[in-house]
Symmetry: C2
Subunit: 577 residues, 2 copies
C-alpha cells in the first residue's frame, strides 16, 4: 500500500479529500482555466502549431500529472521554453504548419514522455542536479530573448524566421518594409496594456474597491482581457479583410484519442532533441515544484516527478498535443488562488475541455498579434540579466559557464545553448578540480593546528614538508599532484619526509592510487619517506583493500601534529617542539 | 632563445651533441629500424592499407617528432590502437582497399595532425588528465582483443570482417569452412614461434654465449626472423600459387610529397573520429613519454607534445602515410638499445627510407599470415585483465567505468568504447560528488578534535548539531545538502544552532551559494542559526564578495571548537566544556 501511494500519489490526497478542499480547488481551477486558455493558444503559436493543439495539450496532461505527480500545486501544460525547443527541433525535419510538422510534434511528446518514464524507473532524478542554477537562468533569459524576438513578426505582421538572434534580426530587417499597420497597432496596444497591467492594474483595481489579493488575482487576467478586447475589435472592425493575421478556423470539440504510430526514422531524428526537451522540461518543472513545496512544507520526489511528467507527455501525445511540463507562472497562479490538491488541475482540465467544445468559433477572430503580445510579456518576466553580473562578482567560472550558455543560445540557437551550458559547467568543474589548491603547511605556534605558510606566520621544520591538497584525488588531478611533489623535492635537497594532510581528501580513485604509488617509489629512490595524516575513514578503508600500505615508505598518522612530532624526533631534535 | 628551444627542443640537444651520443644513437637506430620494418607493414595491414603506407608513415613523422618533441627517446610511428581506430573510422565512409579509403586515411592523418597542433597552441595538454588510467588500460585491452580477433582471418586465410566482437566471431564462424591449410600452417607456426620467443628465445641465446642484454635485444627481433623465414618459405615453396595471401607488389622508392586536397564533406565526416584518434593517440604517447622520462629524470612538456605529435601526423599525411603516435614497444626498444637523443629516430627514419628503396621486391613474397601473427603477439602484450579485478577490489566506481568501457568496446566497437570510457568516468565522478559523505560530529573528549558520531565515541550537545560535508559544494550536490539539512531539522525539534565544519569544502559555487541562502532563510524561519567553522581562505574570499554574510543568521568561527564553545555558552552552560 505504501509503495502504491508512492507510485500513485493521488491515492494519498484523495483519501483525506473533503468539501473544504473542493471549494478551494474549484476557485483555483476557474482562475487557472481563464489564464490557461490564452496561454495554451499562445504557446501552440510559438511552437508553430495550430491553436487547438494548445488546448489539447492542456486537458489530459493535467489529469495525468494530477494522478501521478508528487507536487500538490504544480500546474502542467505547454510552456514557453519547451515550446520553443519543440519548434526548433521539429522545424529541422519538416515545414512549419505541414502535416509532417504536426506529426513530428506529437511524436516528440510521446518520445520525451517515454524517456521521462524510463528515467524515472531508473531513478535518474538526480540528473537534474547536473544543471547549475545560474546556467539554467542564463539559458532561460537567452531563450526568452529569442522567443520575444521571434514573436515580433506577429506584432509587425510580417514574415520572419530564424533559430538565433542574428537570423531573426536579419529576417525581421529584410521584411520590415511590409509591416501591416493595423496589425502593428493591435499588437502594440496589446503589448502596451500588458506591460502596464503588470504593475499598474493592481493598484487601479484596489482604488476601485477590490481587496489586495483579489486585485492581484484579477491583474493576472490581463491577457484574457486583451484576448477578449482584440476578438471584439477584430470581429467588428473586420480585421481579417485588412490583412491582420487571425487564428482562423479552430476545430470544435475534444481531441480524438489515438496512439501515434511508431516511425523509426522520425524517432531517431527526434531522439537527441527529445532528450534535451525532457531534461530541460524536467529541471524547470522540478525547480517550480520545489519552490512551491517549500512554502507549504510539502516534499517533491524527483523520481516520481519524472514518471508523472512522462505520463503527462504521453497523455499529450495520445490526445494530439505537444510536449508539456510544469510551468512557472501557471503554477504560481494555481498556488496563489488557493489550490489545495491536484483536484484543482483536474477541474481546470475540464474547464479547458469546455472551452474546446464551446469557445472555438469565437477564437476565429483572435489576432495572432494579441497572442504574440501575451507571449512577449510572459517571457520578459523570466529575464534575469542580473545573474551575469552576480556571477562576475562571485565566481569567474560560473560567469564563464553562464556567458557561454547565453552567447551560444543567442548565436547558435536553443539546442546548442542547453548543451553548451551543461558541458561548460561540467568541464569547468573538472578543470578546477584538475588543478587543486595545494598548500605547504606550518604549525601555528602553541597549537596543534597547521596552516598555509603563504597566509599565516607558522613554524616549519627542516627535512619535513607538510602538504595539504584541497581536493579529492581522482583521475583528473592525479598527474597534477605528481608534478607538484616532484617539483617540490627537486627544489629541496635536504628533504627527508613528505607528509600529506588528508582532511580535504574525500576519495582516492584508482588513477590517483597509481599516482601515489609512483610518488612513493620515486621518493623512496631518493631516500624520502611519504606519510599521511588525518586520513578519513572511507579513504582508509579503500587503502586497506589494496597493497599500497605494504609498500608505503612512511606511515599513517591520526593527526598531523603527531606526524610532525614523530618524524621530527627521528631527526634527533626530540625536545624542541 | 629560451622560447625558441622550448618550441624546437631539437635546438637544445643538438647544441651538446657529441660523438659518443652519435655512436649510441646509431646502434639504437639500427635495432629500431629492424624492428620497425615488420611493425609498420603489419599496422598498415591492420588499418586496411597497402603495406608501403606503413613504411611511409615511419619516415617523415619520425623526423618531425625528433625536431619538435620534448621526449628524448619516444619513438613515433603507426601503432596498433590508432591503426584500428583509423580502420574503423575510414571503413565507415569508403570500401576497404579502394582509392577513397586511402585518401580518407591520409586525410585523417592531416586533420588529426592539425587538431593536435591547434590544441597544443591552446595549451590543452591538461585534457589528457580527463582520461582515467584504469579506463585507458581497459580500453587498450578490449581493443587488443578486437585487433587479435580481426587478424585471425589472415591466420586462417579466410574472409571475415567486423567492428566488434560479435560481428567478428560471427563472420569468422561463417567462413571457417574455407580455411586455407598452408596459410594456417604458416600463421600457426609464426604465432607459435613468436609466443615462445617472448619467453624462450632470450635464455636460449644466453646459453649460446650471448650476454644478458644483447640476448634480450636479439629476442625482440623475433618478428624479423619470422618475416625472413616466411619470405624464404613462400618464395621457394611458391605459397602464392597455393592460395596463401601474400603482401604482393609494393611500389619501390620513397613516397612523393603532396598536400592532401581539402574536401569539406570528407573532412566533416572524419571530424569526430579524428578528434578521438588525436586524443587517444596523444594520451598513449604522453604516458609512454612520461614513463621513459621518469627513468632518466627528463621532463615531458604536454603542450609541446601536442604540437610535436601534430607535426608528425601532418608529416605523415604529406608523405602518403596514415595516423601515427608514440608507440609503447618501439619506444622501449629505442630506450633499451641506448638511444640518447632523438637523433636515433632521425637515423631510424633513414633506415626505413633505405628499406623502402631496397627491400620492397623481397616483401612481395611475405605471407600476410606472418604479419598477422606479429600483430597478435604484439597486442597480447598490452592485455591487462588484472585491472578489472584490481578495480573490483579497490573501488566500485572505477570498476563500473572500466567494465563499461570494455563491454562497449567489445560489443559496439572502439569509437563508442572510448567515448563511453570518458563519459562513464566523468559521470561517475560527478555522481559520487553529487551525493557527498556528510557526517554529524561530536567532540573527542579532552581534545579540540571533532569526529563522526557513527565512527567514534564522542560528546555532543543538545540544541547544537555539527555537520561536516566531505566535498566541495557545487551545482551537482547543492540540492543534496539542502535535503540533508531539512531532514535533519525535521527530526530534531530542540535544535537551535547548525554548525557546518568546512575543512573539506574547497569551493562554493553560485548554485551552492543559492542553496546556502535558501537553507539560511529556512532555518531562520524556524529560529535556528546557521554557522560555519574553519572556512578556507579562498572560500572566505568568495563569500566576502557577495552579500551572503550580511544575511547569515549565525556566525563564522575560526575553529569548530570555538564555535561549539561559543554557541554552547549562549545556552547558559558556560563553564562545562
Amino acid at each position: 500500500m505504501k509503495l502504491l501511494t508512492r507510485m500513485v500519489p493521488a491515492l494519498d490526497w484523495a483519501r483525506d479529500y473533503n468539501r473544504e478542499y473542493f471549494a478551494s480547488d474549484t476557485l483555483a481551477a476557474i482562475i487557472v482555466t481563464i489564464m490557461l486558455i490564452p496561454q495554451s493558444l499562445a504557446y501552440a503559436l510559438l511552437a508553430g502549431l495550430p491553436a487547438e493543439m494548445g488546448l489539447y495539450a492542456s486537458i489530459l496532461p493535467l489529469i495525468a500529472y494530477a494522478l501521478l505527480g508528487s507536487s500538490r500545486t504544480l500546474s502542467v501544460g505547454p510552456v514557453a521554453v519547451v515550446s520553443l525547443l519543440t519548434a526548433s527541433a521539429v522545424g529541422k525535419i519538416a515545414e512549419s504548419g505541414s502535416v509532417d510538422y504536426i506529426t513530428a510534434a506529437i511524436a516528440m511528446a510521446l518520445i520525451s514522455g517515454l524517456m521521462l518514464i524510463v528515467m524515472g524507473f531508473l531513478r535518474f532524478g538526480f540528473l537534474a542536479n547536473f544543471l547549475s542554477h545560474p546556467v539554467v537562468s542564463g539559458f532561460i533569459t537567452a531563450s526568452g530573448l529569442i522567443i520575444a524576438l521571434s514573436q515580433m513578426r506577429h506584432i509587425l505582421g510580417i514574415d520572419a524566421h530564424g533559430d538565433n538572434l542574428l537570423e531573426l534580426i536579419g529576417s525581421l530587417g529584410a521584411n520590415i518594409g511590409s509591416v501591416n499597420g493595423l496589425t502593428l497597432v493591435t499588437g502594440g496596444a496589446a503589448l502596451g496594456f500588458l506591460f502596464w497591467a503588470r504593475r499598474g492594474l493592481r493598484p487601479l483595481l484596489m482604488r476601485f474597491g477590490f481587496t489586495g489579493s483579489s486585485a492581484a488575482m484579477l491583474a493576472k487576467a490581463g491577457p484574457v482581457l486583451v484576448i477578449m478586447a482584440t476578438i471584439l475589435a477584430s470581429y467588428y472592425g473586420d480585421f481579417g479583410a485588412q490583412g491582420v493575421a487571425l487564428v482562423g478556423q479552430v476545430p470544435r470539440g475534444l481531441p480524438s484519442l489515438s496512439m501515434p504510430a511508431y516511425d523509426p526514422e522520425l524517432w531517431s531524428d527526434l531522439f537527441v532533441s527529445a532528450l534535451l526537451i525532457s531534461i530541460i522540461g524536467y529541471v524547470e518543472s522540478v525547480s517550480v515544484g520545489k519552490t512551491l513545496g517549500a512554502k507549504r512544507r510539502q516534499r517533491i520526489n524527483p523520481n516520481q516527478e519524472l514518471v508523472a511528467l512522462g505520463a503527462a507527455n504521453v497523455a499529450s501525445a495520445v490526445s494530439a498535443g505537444f510536449p508539456v511540463t510544469g510551468g512557472f507562472s501557471r503554477s504560481i497562479v494555481n498556488f496563489d488562488s488557493g489550490a489545495q490538491t491536484p483536484m484543482a488541475s483536474i477541474l481546470a482540465a475540464m474547464g479547458i475541455g469546455l472551452a474546446a467544445l464551446l469557445l472555438t468559433p469565437v477564437l476565429f477572430f483572435l489576432p495572432k498579434a494579441a497572442l504574440a503580445a501575451a507571449i512577449i510579456v510572459a517571457v520578459t518576466s523570466l529575464f534575469d540579466f542580473g545573474v551575469v553580473a552576480r556571477a562576475w562578482r562571485y565566481s569567474r567560472s560560473d560567469f564563464i559557464a553562464i556567458s557561454t550558455t547565453i552567447v551560444i543560445t543567442l548565436g547558435l540557437g536553443v539546442e546548442l545553448g542547453v548543451l553548451s551550458g551543461v558541458l561548460s559547467s561540467v568541464l569547468l568543474h573538472l578543470y578546477k578540480t584538475s588543478r587543486p589548491h595545494i598548500a605547504v603547511l606550518g604549525a601555528v605556534a602553541g597549537t596543534e593546528h597547521f596552516r598555509n605558510i603563504d597566509r599565516h606566520n607558522v613554524i616549519t621544520h627542516k627535512n619535513i614538508v607538510s602538504i595539504r591538497v584541497d581536493e579529492s584525488l581522482y583521475f583528473a588531478n592525479a598527474s597534477y599532484l605528481e608534478d607538484y611533489i616532484y617539483n617540490l623535492i627537486a627544489k629541496d635537497q635536504d628533504l627527508e619526509h613528505v607528509i600529506l594532510l588528508c582532511t580535504a581528501i574525500n576519495e582516492i580513485d584508482m588513477s590517483a592510487l597509481e599516482a601515489l604509488e609512483a610518488i612513493n617509489y620515486r621518493l623512496k629512490d631518493q631516500g624520502i619517506t611519504l606519510n599521511f595524516s588525518e586520513v578519513k575513514g572511507p579513504v582508509m578503508d579503500a587503502l586497506h583493500s589494496c597493497d599500497f600500505l605494504e609498500h608505503l615508505s612512511g606511515r599513517i598518522f591520526l593527526s598531523h601534529h603527531q606526524a610532525v612530532k614523530a618524524l621530527k624526533c627521528d631527526e634527533i631534535e626530540p625536545y624542541i617542539i
